[in-house]
C-alpha cells in the first residue's frame, strides 16, 4: 500500500519531464495538436478505442460492490451514535436506505451533469 510513502509533502507531488506510460503518451499526441481538414489520417485502430473507454465512467454493479467492500474494510475508530438498531431491520431499513439514496442522487446531480446521468441509465 501507499502507506510507506506517507511522510513529507513532497511524496504527494511527483514530477516527470516526459510521459511514461502509453496512456500518458497518447494523451499528449493523439487528440491534441493541430489537425487540418484536408489530410489523410492514419487509422489507429484499437488505440482510439482504448482512450474512449478510459473516458467513460460507468457506475456499475461491480463499482458499487467494490466501494461497499472498500468502505467495510476501513479501520475506523468507531464513534458512538447511529448503530444497527437505529436502522431497524428488513423492509423498514430498505425503505430508509432507498429514501436516503434518492435524496443523495438529487443533491449530487445538479444541472449540467447529463453525461453522468446517461451513463447510469
Amino acid at each position: 500500500m501507499a502507506v510507506a510513502t506517507r511522510g513529507t509533502s513532497s511524496n504527494y507531488l511527483q514530477r516527470a519531464p516526459s510521459p511514461s506510460g502509453l496512456a500518458d503518451v497518447l494523451s499528449v499526441i493523439l487528440d491534441k495538436g493541430i489537425v487540418i481538414d484536408a489530410f489523410v489520417r492514419i487509422s489507429v485502430i484499437g488505440i482510439e478505442l482504448i482512450t474512449i473507454d478510459a473516458r467513460i465512467v460507468i457506475a456499475s454493479v461491480d463499482t458499487y460492490l467494490r466501494f461497499a467492500e472498500a468502505v467495510n474494510r476501513l479501520d475506523l475508530a468507531e464513534s458512538g451514535g447511529a448503530g444497527i438498531q437505529d436502522l431497524g431491520s428488513g423492509d423498514g431499513a430498505k425503505r430508509k436506505a432507498q429514501g436516503a439514496l434518492e435524496g443523495a442522487k438529487e443533491k449530487l446531480t445538479p444541472g449540467g451533469s447529463k453525461e453522468r446521468e446517461k451513463s447510469r441509465s
Binding site: A16, G33, F39, Y64, A68
Partner: protein, 256 residues
C-alpha cells in the same frame, strides 16, 4: 487489411509532426515514425517538420507513437514548435505547403508567437482512496449506518451493499467535483491558459500553459496544494511538454 488498396500515390507520403519558424529549424537527430529521418519543408516564414512515410507502412506500432512525441520533444527542446496531432499524413512535401502551411499561414504564425516561450504541464490530481473513503464514512451518517449493517450481516446483505456502494460512489463523485474545481481555479490563476480533460476516476486532469522559464508561481501553487491536501490527494505533473493541448486551429476541435 484493405487500407493499402486505396488510391495512394506510388511515391511515399509525407508525415507531419509540427510547425516551426523557418529561421529556427532545429537539427533533429532521432528518426521519426516508420524510422524515417526527420527533415523540414519550408514555405516563407514557416517550416513543417516531416518525414517520409513508406506506402506500405499502415500498421502503427507503439514505437511510432513514441517517435512522434520524441520528435516534438526534441524540437521543443530547441525552440518553439506547434505540435500536430499524431497521424497527420499528406500526399507529398508539396501538399504540405499547398494544403497545410500556405492556407493556414496567418493562424500558424499567430500560434507560433502565442506559444513562444511557453510549455505545457500536464497535471493529474488523484485521491488516496482509503483516506477519502474514511472522510466519506465519517461525514455521512447514512453511509456510516449502512456500513455497520453490511459489516455485521456479512454475505447476505447484497442489497444493502449495493446501496452502500452507490451512495459512496455518489459521494466520491461529488467530492471529486468539488476538489477538482477548487484546484483548477487555483492553478488557472497561475497559468497562461488551460485545457481541461475528462478526469475519469481522477479528481482533475488538465494541461496548463506556463512560461518555460520562471513558472515559479505555478510550481509554488502546486506545492502548496500538495502540502495542504496531504495525505488525501496526490498530484502528478508531467512536463514541460510541447504545447499540444494549445495547438488548435480556429475550429478548436479538441475543446471539451
Amino acid at each position: 487489411m484493405s487500407a493499402s488498396s486505396t488510391e495512394a500515390p506510388p511515391t511515399a507520403a509525407t508525415y507531419a509532426y509540427g510547425v516551426v519558424a523557418a529561421d529556427s529549424i532545429p537539427t533533429l537527430e532521432r528518426n521519426g515514425v516508420a524510422d524515417a529521418p526527420v527533415r523540414a519543408v519550408k514555405s516563407g516564414e514557416l517550416a513543417a517538420l516531416v518525414s517520409a512515410l513508406p506506402e506500405q507502412q499502415f500498421r502503427i506500432r507503439r514505437r511510432d507513437l513514441l517517435s512522434h512525441l520524441s520528435v516534438l520533444e526534441d524540437a521543443f527542446g530547441a525552440g518553439t514548435v506547434i505540435p500536430c496531432a499524431f497521424g497527420m499524413v499528406l500526399a507529398s512535401d508539396d501538399a504540405v505547403v499547398r494544403e497545410f502551411l500556405d492556407p493556414r499561414r496567418e493562424e500558424l504564425l499567430g500560434l507560433l508567437s502565442r506559444l513562444d516561450g511557453y510549455g505545457q504541464l500536464n497535471v493529474r490530481v488523484s485521491y488516496d482512496e482509503q483516506v477519502v473513503l474514511e472522510e466519506i464514512v465519517r461525514a455521512d451518517p447514512t453511509i456510516a449506518q449502512l456500513r455497520e449493517e453490511t459489516r455485521s450481516r456479512g454475505e447476505d446483505a447484497y442489497d444493502l451493499k449495493m446501496r452502500l456502494g452507490e451512495l459512496v460512489a455518489a459521494a466520491l463523485a461529488y467530492a471529486r467535483e468539488q476538489d477538482g474545481r477548487m484546484i483548477l481555479e487555483r492553478l488557472v490563476a497561475q497559468a497562461a491558459d488551460v485545457a481541461v480533460d475528462n478526469p475519469g476516476d481522477d479528481v482533475l486532469k488538465a494541461s496548463f500553459l506556463v512560461a518555460r522559464e520562471g513558472s515559479i508561481a505555478f510550481d509554488r501553487e502546486l506545492e502548496d496544494i500538495a502540502r495542504e491536501q496531504a495525505p488525501r490527494l496526490r498530484i502528478d505533473v508531467v512536463g514541460p511538454l510541447p504545447p499540444s493541448a494549445f495547438a488548435t486551429l480556429e475550429r478548436g476541435a479538441w475543446e471539451s
